[in-house]
Each structure stands twice: as structure tokens, then as C-alpha cells.
């Protein structure tokens, strides 16, 4: 269409345009919303437009909270209120006295002041409440109003006015006077249109001086669909499609009539705005970019939201898709009615919450996937209804009824929804001018009665005083309102600066399998052969000819060359890899030493050194697939057997002796604090295995310290798995304690004995003791003997941390079961954060907090980040990883410059995808040993395309490396 009109200016273009406009008007097929699904799938994982948006809402943005009269008011039969259809429905269908004065509600009618205090607490700019039709007119007919009901709403409005809180009043939130249901059959009867208008007229007259935002009906879709179709809502009729669409028709006409009424009779002096709240789900195609699925998604949206939005916000008539499908079932609008219907809303009021998603089997899903993407549905509204101003009149999710004030999931649902609204405003230029958090209070949740809670404030329904207690989500919402959005507090601005000259930039690899056979016999076989190509196809030795052979060389190992070439291109200074214990010592003791394997590792080290790549060697790196122990040790109990620690010491001694002249950085064991996963049959096993691992490390360290350090002058430590832990719910003390507890169990369990007291962390011991007192886990951590304590304490030259992510930690009620339940924690995935396909959250500032925590607990110890990285499925342009590495190094730099953490090295981890190294690389400092450059921190190197040739600097100590005879450099 655009091309047609743009291609030629002048009369002809206008004709085409006019024709298209007419065509569109006639057909009534807007369908522009389809573009929401047709757009190309986000360009990569680190798409700015998809990342969590830090920023503020427009200055005059309206913040509110909402309630429905029937959900919270209570006081049903008292004070002259008539029964509503929901009173009867709750009593007869739900077996609940809900809202009907049964005493199990929030009783806002009696405790109005408490609601007002709750609003004060939040600091909202508006309160979205509904007026109870049967409270004003007990039998529904607007003859004599119930004075006490009028007084109640006057009191509410006056109190709001005193507080400067705008009222947003809904006239009908589902509590139809029961009398009207009995007399007319409810909304199926067109008489309701006039009756509703009479009631509305009274409300405008009585309250319109103070109410500037009116909403006629709350979510007419649910009223018609569930009230008359599925029977899930009052009046609970399953009366068939004709009844459903007749009810919808009357709801639409009622709204339209009231809008005209207000527009003509009240707006001139009351100067307010009026709309209708339309609710919807959202849906996404099963197969992205599949036209058929996209069409079905459009149908799904049109049949729910379009049903009411097309007449009011569109052309005054039902969507063409519905008319075609429903034929005569769908009532007709006359031309006059269409023009009366069209444009009867001063803004678009939108509801997006759980009620539009349940029950799932009654939804018009068309075989597609429902979605909670509020941003996309706002985009759909923008495209379908010509970019209207939007008030979000209801949004939020529910928690289970047993959740009291720590409604952690609700915080993250709100965070997710609200950030999507912010993105819609800032990035998609959608005119959202207000947001209603639903609900202010716990209350009656319609068909769910009291089995779910949606309040920002907790109410104990059985209590007398019905106190409103702010939940975590209330604290969170208050914070967002105060800041008018999401301000960046977690991370400080980037810093400029550099790490010290001797900083090591490395790449971490897991176990290198030694090549067993040097690759080719051609250098060791002195004979010459000819090939009988036409005869018997065999090789024949040429007698009498002997060729000169040469001794074994490092170049015989083909894999080393490949590996080091890639490292050289990455310009790293260090290469961390692990030896295969089982290969070096197949029998587990020194009786059989695989010299070939040792020679291979020596070649890796020495060839690397020639390229100025220093080794950091890990002696033992277990994985899920292979525990990595020599088979005899595995069979004799593995790490549950104390003698394994002695065997490890002997193995370490061998490695120090054979390789220690070249290797200056040793890691004894990689992530012993995660190996306990393999020994989780009982809590005792877990702690015993950890104990032996710790002793094994300490023995190896002592051996090095005593026998090898004087000559070799290296450093030895173990690498701990060190994810940071944050409380999932920052407003809950129990979560803050749980986060610290996780660190104590996971990190301090090994760090405290080595860098601290020589014993397991007292906090963790105390927690286990407390559990034992409550009769929970029977496991107790082993005690260190005095000798062991002396052995362990101080047995590390630096602190090596494998840091990948930050965990958001929930406190879980103590229970028995698996040993890791000792910690009483669960994890929460913050869906608003960038994460990898394996659901690792990218939380760079967590790295800095971890480093500060280490410094705070263990003082000025040297720190190496010995593994850091993320999985990125991209084949070539691994932007997620690049983003990750850049941000994490930035945080490490802050820790170094600002927090004075003595970081000595950073090793990017590549074990997720060995391939990555051939596809792309890691940024590294321009790692000149001479450190001549002054501004080197900002240099990032993409290795996708081979970068400029690496310059070789001879390592300062190259001349000291005693190379074995015949060793040649791999790269020329």
C-alpha cells in the first residue's frame, strides 16, 4: 500500500490511496496488528530493544492500584445493599460466602481508612475502584438511591481528594443487582442498556464533580463469555453462543449509550474522560514467521479483544473475521448504531491479568501459544486502533493463598510487566499514560474465591481488624513509584583504567587428553618403501636403504599445534588446562607412570612458553561424565576413602617434579565444592568427600611448599566454584540470610578452612546444628583434628574463583531429604535479565560483589578469576559472549581500582564450546609483557577474522627454560 501511494505523487497517487482507504473501511479488515508477529525475530540475544530497560516513565505518568467493589467491600446485606448475582453465585456455585458478608473478606466498607492508609503507603497518584450498583440501588432500578451507599462513596472520594489521589471509577465490575438478573435475565436482555444508563446518570450526577476518569464496564468479554457461555462466572449460565453474543451486544450498547450521555450532559461542566476497560490475553504463533499461524493468532486476538474494541475503537462494527465465522449468531449493528458506537471512548483502558487466561481450555487459542508479553499486546493495540492513549486499568498476577507477605514471584511478575510497559513507551512510542497494579488488597478472586491472592497488601480474612499488611510487592511497587521507573542502582558507571602490568589474561580449558602415540611412524622408521600401485597394492620395503630418523619432538603431537595457534591468535598470556590424572597414573599410584602422557603435557607447556603463553595447570578436573579418578581409586571408594587424598598427594608430587620447572601456577583441584554433587547419596557422604578433597589439596600444597617451592618458586591453590548469591526478595530478611547461607555452604566451606580459621564456617555449622535440633538432616560435617587444622590452614597461595553467574536465592522452609536441602534455599530465575540458553543469568555486577565479599572475609589475598564465561549458541558472531566478557571484565576492573581487590588474572572459560575458539575469540588486553601501552583497557579484539599477526615478545624467562633435547617450536 505504501509503495502504491509513494511511487507517484499527484492525483493518481491520491486516487489509489483513497481507493485503499475506502476498501479498508468497507472491508473493516484492519489487521495491522499482524505486524507484531511478522517482524523478524529479535536480532540476536543482546538486542538493546529486548534488554531490561533502565529508565523512567514520563513525568506525568499515573501510578495506581485497583480493586473491584465485590472483591473487597464486604458488608453485603448490611446498610441497605441489595444482593448481586455474584452473592448468589458464590454461595451456590463456589460454596463460599465470598463478599456476601460471610466475614471472610477484606471489608473495605467498614475499614475504608485502612485502604486509604494503604494507598498512602504506596504513594499512588490514582485509585481505581468500582461502584457497587446494588449498594446504590438494591434492586437495580435507579429510583431511590440507598443513602448510606452514597455516603460511603462520597466519603471515599472526599478522602482521596484530600490526599491528592485521583479517583478512577468503574461503574460496573460484574456485581449486577440480582433483581435485574431475575427480572430480565441479565445482560441478555436489551432492557439492561437503559437501566445501566439510568444508574450511570445517577453516578455522574452524584460523584462526577470529583471523578475525572470514568470506566463504564470492566472486561465485558469475561462477563459475556464466562457469565453466559462457560458459566464460570455469575450468573453461571451456559446458554450457548447466541446468548454470549447477545450479552456482548448489550454490554457494548450500554457502554455506548453511557458515553453519549456523559459526552452530552456531563462532560461540558465535569470535564472528565470516559472509556471501557477491555481485557485480553496475548498469543504467539507456534512457528514464528509462519503465515498460517500468524493468521490464527490474529483471529484469536480479534475474537476476544477485537470483539469489543473494533466497535468502540475501530469502525463501529464487529471484526469482519467474527462476522464471517459467526454469521447470524452475531447480532447486527445498523448503520445508525455503527456511527453511534464508533469512537465512544476517550482513551483505551486495557486489562491484562490472569482472568483472561483461565480456564485455559475455554480460550480461543487456535492451537497457538499463549503468552504474557504485555509489550506485544500493547503494540497490537497501537497498530489496530491507531495508536490510542492507553490506561492500563488492571495488571498483575496472583500468588497461592498460603503466600502471606513474601510474595516474591509477584515482584518479578510486576518487574517484568512494568518493564515491558516502559519499553513500550520508550522504545515503541506507545502512549501509555497510566498503570494500575491489581489489586490493592487481597480479596475475593471470582471463580477462584479465596484460593489465590492478588493484593499488594495482605489481609487475614479471619481476623477481626482486617489489617492491611504490605507485601514485598507493595514495597517494590512503592519503590518504582518513588523513582518513577527503574533507575540503575545495581551497577555503577563504567570506569576507565587498567590492570597492573603483570596481570595475566588467560583462557581456561578443561582436561586435555594426552595424545597417546606421537602421530607418525615416518620419523622413527628408517626404511624406505615403494608402493606397488598396479600389482598387489602393497608397500614394499626397499632393501638396503636406511634413512636417518630423528628423535621424538613436540611437533609430533598434532593437536598441540592447533591449540596453541588459536591461543596465540587470542593474544592471551596464560593458558589454563587440566591434566588427566587417570592417564598419567592409570593404577592410581606411582608404580605405573605414563611417561608418554607426561611428555605430551610437557610439550604443551614448553611449546606454549615459546609463544609467551604461560601455563596454569590444574591437576584434577572432574566432570559430570567422568569423575576423573584412576580406576583403582574409584573402585576403592573414590573421595569417600581417605587414602585417595594420599594418592593425590603422590600424584601432585610427580607433576611438580616433572613439570614444576616450567609451571609457576598450579591449581590442585577444580571446583571441589561442586564435586560433592557426585557424593550426594547422604549428607554424610557429601561432607566426607568434601573433607577428603580439602585434605588432598592441603597435602599437595604442603608438599609443594616444603619440597618444590624453594627451587620452583610457583604458587598453588584450588579453584572454587564461586557464583554470587543475591536475595531473590530484597525485602525479606529470610532471603538475605539465605543468600549469605548459600555462600557459606558453597564458597566459605572451602575458603574458610584455607584462608580463615582452619575450620568449616561457623555460620554453616550453626545452621546445620539448628536443623538437627529440629530433627531435620542427620548429617554433621566432619571435625578437623588439630593436625588437620594445621595442615589446612593457610594452605593456598592465592584465591582462585570460577565465576559464571549470580543466583537469586529464596529461603525455603526447612525440610528433610537430599543433602543439598541442608541449605534451605531455592533459586529464582529473574526473567527480566539477560540469560544464556542454559539459563545462566548475565549479572556482571555480581562478580564485583563476589570479589568484595572475598576481600571482606579473607583480607588482601591475591585473587585469580580462573574461569568465567557463558554459553552462546551463535556460530560466528557470538554477541552474547562478547557482551558478557566485556561487562564482567569491566566489573573486575572496578573491583581492582575502586575496591582494591588484588586481582591478578582473568581466565575466560571455553569449556562450553570448544568450537568457539575457532569461530570467535575472547577479548584480551594487548598483553605485552613490557606493558608499554598506556591506554590498553579499551581494546577488544574480535577474532572472528584472524586479527593482525601476533607480535612475539620473548618471554623474559625464556632463556631459563630448560628444554629437552629435540624439542622444537611448533610455530615458525
Amino acid at each position: 500500500r505504501a509503495a502504491g501511494t509513494m511511487s507517484r505523487r499527484g492525483p493518481r497517487g491520491s486516487v489509489v490511496l483513497a481507493a485503499l482507504v475506502v476498501l479498508r473501511a468497507v472491508a473493516g479488515l484492519s489487521g495491522d496488528g499482524r505486524a507484531v508477529w511478522s517482524k523478524a525475530p529479535g536480532s540476536g540475544p543482546v538486542n538493546e530493544s529486548q534488554l531490561f530497560l533502565y529508565g523512567t516513565f514520563p513525568k506525568d505518568f499515573l501510578w495506581g492500584a485497583g480493586t473491584g467493589a465485590f472483591q473487597v467491600e464486604g458488608g453485603a446485606e448490611g446498610d441497605g445493599r441489595g444482593p448481586s448475582i455474584w452473592d448468589r453465585f458464590a454461595r451456590t456455585r463456589l460454596g463460599s460466602g465470598g463478599g456476601a458478608g460471610g466475614g471472610s473478606d477484606s471489608d473495605s466498607y467498614a475499614f475504608l481508612e485502612k485502604d486509604l492508609s494503604a494507598l498512602d503507603f504506596l504513594g499512588v497518584s490514582f485509585y481505581h475502584f468500582s461502584i457497587s450498583w446494588p449498594r446504590l440501588f438494591p434492586d437495580g432500578e435507579a429510583r431511590a438511591a440507598n443513602a448510606r451507599g452514597v455516603r460511603f462513596y462520597n466519603a471515599l472520594l472526599d478522602a482521596l481528594a484530600r490526599r491528592g489521589v485521583q479517583p478512577v471509577a468503574t461503574l460496573f465490575h460484574w456485581d449486577l443487582p440480582l433483581a435485574l438478573q431475575r427480572r430480565y435475565g441479565g445482560w441478555r436482555n436489551a432492557s439492561l442498556v437503559g437501566l445501566f444508563n439510568d444508574y450511570a446518570t445517577f453516578c455522574f450526577r452524584a460523584f462526577g464533580d470529583r471523578v475525572k476518569y470514568w470506566l463504564t464496564i470492566h472486561n465485558p468479554y469475561l462477563v459475556a463469555w464466562h457469565g453466559y457461555g462457560t458459566g464460570a462466572h455469575a450468573p453461571g449460565e451456559a446458554a450457548g453462543a447466541a446468548a454470549v453474543y447477545a450479552a456482548g451486544h448489550n454490554l457494548l450498547k450500554a457502554h455506548s449509550k453511557v458515553w453519549h450521555n456523559y459526552n452530552i450532559n456531563f462532560r461540558p461542566h465535569q470535564k472528565g474522560w470516559l472509556s471501557i476497560t477491555l481485557g485480553s490475553h496475548w498469543i504467539e504463533p507456534n512457528r514464528s514467521e509462519n503465515m498460517m499461524d500468524i493468521v490464527k493468532c490474529q483471529q484469536s486476538m480479534v475474537s476476544v479483544l477485537g470483539w469489543f474494541a473494533h466497535p468502540i475503537h475501530g469502525e463501529g462494527d464487529y471484526p469482519e473475521e467474527m462476522k464471517k465465522k459467526l454469521l447470524s449468531i452475531l447480532p447486527l449493528f445498523s448503520e445508525a448504531e455503527k456511527s453511534e458506537m464508533r469512537g465512544t471512548a476517550d482513551f483505551f483502558a486495557f486489562s491484562f491479568g490472569p482472568n483472561n487466561f483461565k480456564p485455559l481450555n475455554t480460550m480461543a487459542k487456535m492451537g497457538q501459544n499463549v503468552s504474557l508479553n504485555l509489550r506485544e499486546v500493547l503494540n497490537w493495540i497501537k497498530l489496530e486502533y491507531d495508536n490510542p492513549r492507553i490506561l492500563i486499568a488492571e495488571n498483575g498476577w496472583f500468588t497461592d493463598s498460603h503466600v502471606k507477605t513474601e510474595d516474591t514471584t509477584a515482584i518479578y511478575m510486576m518487574k517484568n510487566f512494568l518493564n515491558q510497559v516502559l519499553q513500550a513507551i520508550r522504545l515503541d512510542e506507545i502512549q501509555v499514560f497510566g498503570y494500575t497494579a491489581w489489586s490493592l488488597l487481597d480479596g475475593f478472586e471470582w471463580q477462584d474465591a479465596y484460593t489465590t491472592r492478588r493484593g499488594l497488601f495482605y489481609v487475614d480474612f479471619n481476623s477481626k481488624q482486617k489489617e492491611r499488611i504490605p507485601k514485598s510487592s507493595a514495597h517494590y511497587y512503592k519503590q518504582i513509584i518513588r523513582e518513577n521507573g527503574f533507575t540503575l542502582k545495581e551497577s555503577t558507571p563504567d570506569v576507565q583504567g587498567q590492570f597492573p602490568c603483570d596481570f595475566s589474561w588467560g583462557v581456561t580449558e578443561s582436561v586435555l587428553k594426552p595424545e597417546a602415540v606421537a602421530s607418525s611412524p615416518q620419523f622413527s622408521d628408517p626404511h624406505l618403501y615403494v608402493w606397488n600401485a598396479t600389482g598387489n597394492r602393497l608397500l614394499h620395503r626397499v632393501e638396503g636403504v636406511r634413512l636417518k630418523t630423528r628423535p621424538a619432538q613436540c611437533t609430533d603431537f598434532v593437536s598441540i599445534k592447533k591449540q596453541l595457534e588459536m591461543l596465540a591468535r587470542m593474544k592471551v598470556t596464560h593458558y589454563r588446562f587440566a591434566l588427566d590424572w587417570a592417564s598419567v597414573l592409570p593404577t592410581g599410584d606411582l608404580s605405573t607412570v605414563n611417561r608418554q602422557a607426561l611428555r605430551y603435557y610437557r610439550c604443551v607447556v614448553s611449546e606454549g612458553l615459546k609463544l609467551s603463553i604461560s601455563p596454569m595447570v590444574t591437576l584434577y578436573h572432574p566432570t559430570h561424565a567422568h569423575l576423573g579418578l584412576p580406576t583403582p581409586l574409584l573402585h576403592s571408594g573414590g573421595w569417600l576413602n581417605p587414602s585417595t587424598a594420599q594418592a593425590f598427594e603422590a600424584y601432585a608430587g610427580l607433576c611438580f617434579r616433572e613439570l614444576g620447572d616450567l609451571v609457576k601456577l598450579w591449581i590442585t583441584i577444580n571446583e571441589p565444592n561442586r564435586l560433592s554433587d557426585a557424593y550426594s547419596r547422604s549428607g554424610n557422604d557429601t561432607y566426607r568427600a568434601a573433607h577428603h578433597l580439602l585434605l588432598a589439596h592441603a597435602r599437595a600444597w604442603r608438599l609443594y611448599d616444603r619440597r618444590f617451592r624453594p627451587a620452583q618458586r610457583g604458587a598453588v591453590s584450588l579453584a572454587l566454584h564461586a557464583d554470587w548469591a543475591e536475595p531473590a526478595n530484597p525485602f525479606a530478611a529470610s532471603h538475605r540470610r539465605a543468600a549469605e547461607r548459600l555462600l557459606q555452604f558453597e564458597l566459605a566451606w572451602f575458603a574458610e578452612p584455607l584462608f580463615g580459621s582452619g575450620d568449616y564456617p561457623p555460620a554453616a555449622r550453626a545452621h546445620l546444628a539448628a536443623r538437627a535440633r529440629r530433627g531435620l538432616a542427620g548429617a554433621a560435617p566432619p571435625r578437623f583434628s588439630e593436625a588437620e587444622r594445621r595442615l589446612v590452614r593457610g594452605a593456598a597461595d592465592f584465591c582462585a574463583l570460577n565465576h559464571f553467574t549470580t543466583r537469586f536465592v529464596l529461603h525455603e522452609q526447612p525440610r528433610g531429604g537430599r543433602p543439598d536441602s541442608d541449605r534451605d534455599v531455592r533459586f529464582l530465575q529473574d526473567v527480566t535479565r539477560l540469560r544464556s540458553p542454559s539459563r545462566l543469568a548475565v549479572v556482571p555486577w555480581g562478580a564485583r560483589r563476589l570479589l568484595r565479599w572475598v576481600r571482606h572475609n579473607y583480607g588482601d589475598v591475591d585473587v585469580y578469576i580462573t574461569a568465567n564465561g557463558i554459553d552462546d549458541p551463535a556460530l560466528e558472531d557470538d554477541r552474547l559472549r562478547k557482551y558478557y566478557v566485556e561487562k564482567y571484565i569491566q566489573e573486575a576492573l572496578k573491583a581492582y581500582l575502586i575496591d582494591k581487590v588484588k586481582i591478578k588474572g582473568y581466565y575466560s572459560s571455553i569449556q562450553f564450546y570448544n568450537k568457539v575458539i575457532s569461530n570467535s575469540g575472547f577479548p584480551s588486553e594487548n598483553s605485552s609483557p613490557r606493558c608499554t601501552q598506556t591506554q590498553r583497557n579499551k581494546e577488544w579484539h574480535c577474532l572472528l577474522i584472524p586479527c593482525q599477526k601476533r607480535k612475539f615478545w620473548k618471554a623474559k624467562n625464556l632463556q631459563h627454560i630448560p628444554l629437552k633435547k629435540g624439542h622444537k617450536r611448533v610455530l615458525s
Binding site: 512457528r287 514464528s288 602421530s519 622408521d525 598387489n536 578436573h621 554433587d677 566454584h721 533459586f827
Partner: protein
């Protein structure tokens, strides 16, 4: 032991002259070596190849060493094998992806082993003039042939050696485009529809490899 005895078996002086003649003729006339020359198999000490066969088998097959140690004939091109010379005429065959060596039991059955056993896993490679090769177990003298897909694994009917064509690896098929996978639809009936709350123990990436 070494290749002295083995080499002795190749002594057929009578074939010397024709072969030399061919070599000389080739040198004199400077024929371009066609791409089909079996010599081109030997690009290096280590060849990355697929062993393809359509011989005797009813269908075309590629030798595949599976992660569970079974050896099968796969209709689709299977992961690459690494053919490496051990000594003249004798090679080892390693499944690159599964890190298993191709080995043979005394009864001729094939299996993939994580450890290299020189007895069971060394094969003599015979080059045929049509470019196909034949492999014999160095120790047992049994031909390498794929198990028949229909018969049980151990049932080795009398069949002649199977000829294999070592094909250079095709460029790796581009994996599925790393598009955004359709996310799991939310569980809208749950108070945690986006499944945010998970187990307490995340796996360490260090343990993945």
C-alpha cells in the same frame, strides 16, 4: 615386535618391475594426477574421512561408531573418522565425535572402545585400484565389515571383505540457525507462570565438559 616381520609378508620381487615402469612412465609423460587418485587420500599423517560402502550391503552406508560403543552402518553421512597411521600399512580408526576407537573382537564383531588396544584396534589398509580400500584386523586377520542391519549384531554370515571408500568429510552441515526458539508457553494456571522458581542446585558449567 615391529614391522620387520610384517614387512616381510610384502616381499614380492616379481611385482617390482611393472610398478617401476608405471612410475617411470608417469614421470616421463607428466600425466596430471587425476583427482581420483587414491594417493590423494594421504593429505597428511592423519586423515579425516568417512568410510562409505555400497559393497555387498543392500544399501549405501557409512561406518559409524556410536557413543554407546556400537558400530553401525548409517545411511546418512555419519560423524567423521580419524584414520591415523600406526606403522606402514597399518592404521587406527577413531570416531572423532565419540572419542572411540574402532576395534574388533576375535569373532570379527566390531565395537567402539574408549581405550586404544593395539591388538584389537589396529587395521591393515589395502588399497584397491578402483579407489576402494579393504581393512583387515592386524591381529585376527579378519576383514572389517559392517554388521548387517537386519541380522543380530553377532550374526556374521560368511561374507567377503567389504570394500570401503574413504571419503573426505563434507563441510559440516550448517546447524539449525540460531534463531530465537519459540519459548515455552507460560503455565498460566500457575502462580509462577514463567517457571522462575527452580531447584536449588544449578549445574556448574565447569563440570559440563
Amino acid at each position: 615386535m615391529g614391522w620387520d616381520e610384517a614387512g616381510a609378508g610384502f616381499e614380492h620381487p616379481g611385482l617390482w618391475f611393472p610398478m617401476l615402469g608405471v612410475l617411470l612412465l608417469g614421470a616421463c609423460q607428466a600425466y596430471p594426477i587425476p583427482d581420483s587418485s587414491p594417493l590423494l587420500q594421504f593429505g597428511g599423517q592423519v586423515r579425516q574421512r568417512h568410510l562409505y560402502t555400497d559393497d555387498i550391503q543392500e544399501t549405501e552406508a557409512h561406518l559409524e561408531i556410536r557413543a554407546d560403543g556400537t558400530v553401525v552402518g548409517a545411511a546418512r553421512q555419519s560423524p567423521e573418522l580419524e584414520l591415523k597411521a600406526l606403522k606402514p600399512g597399518v592404521i587406527q580408526i577413531l570416531g572423532v565425535k565419540t572419542s572411540r576407537f574402532l576395534c574388533q573382537r576375535p569373532d570379527g564383531a566390531l565395537y567402539g572402545s574408549l581405550h586404544f588396544d593395539p591388538e584389537a584396534c589396529s587395521f591393515r589398509e589395502l588399497l584397491l585400484e578402483d579407489g576402494y580400500n579393504v581393512y583387515w584386523s592386524e591381529t585376527y586377520g579378519l576383514p572389517l565389515h559392517l554388521p548387517s542391519p537386519s541380522s543380530p549384531y553377532r550374526d556374521l554370515g560368511p561374507r567377503g571383505p567389504v570394500r570401503f571408500l574413504p571419503l573426505p568429510g563434507l563441510p559440516p552441515a550448517p546447524p539449525d540457525p540460531p534463531g530465537i526458539l519459540a519459548p515455552e508457553p507460560p503455565d498460566v494456571g500457575s502462580s509462577d507462570p514463567l517457571s522462575m522458581v527452580g531447584p536449588s542446585q544449578g549445574r556448574s558449567p565447569s563440570y559440563a565438559s
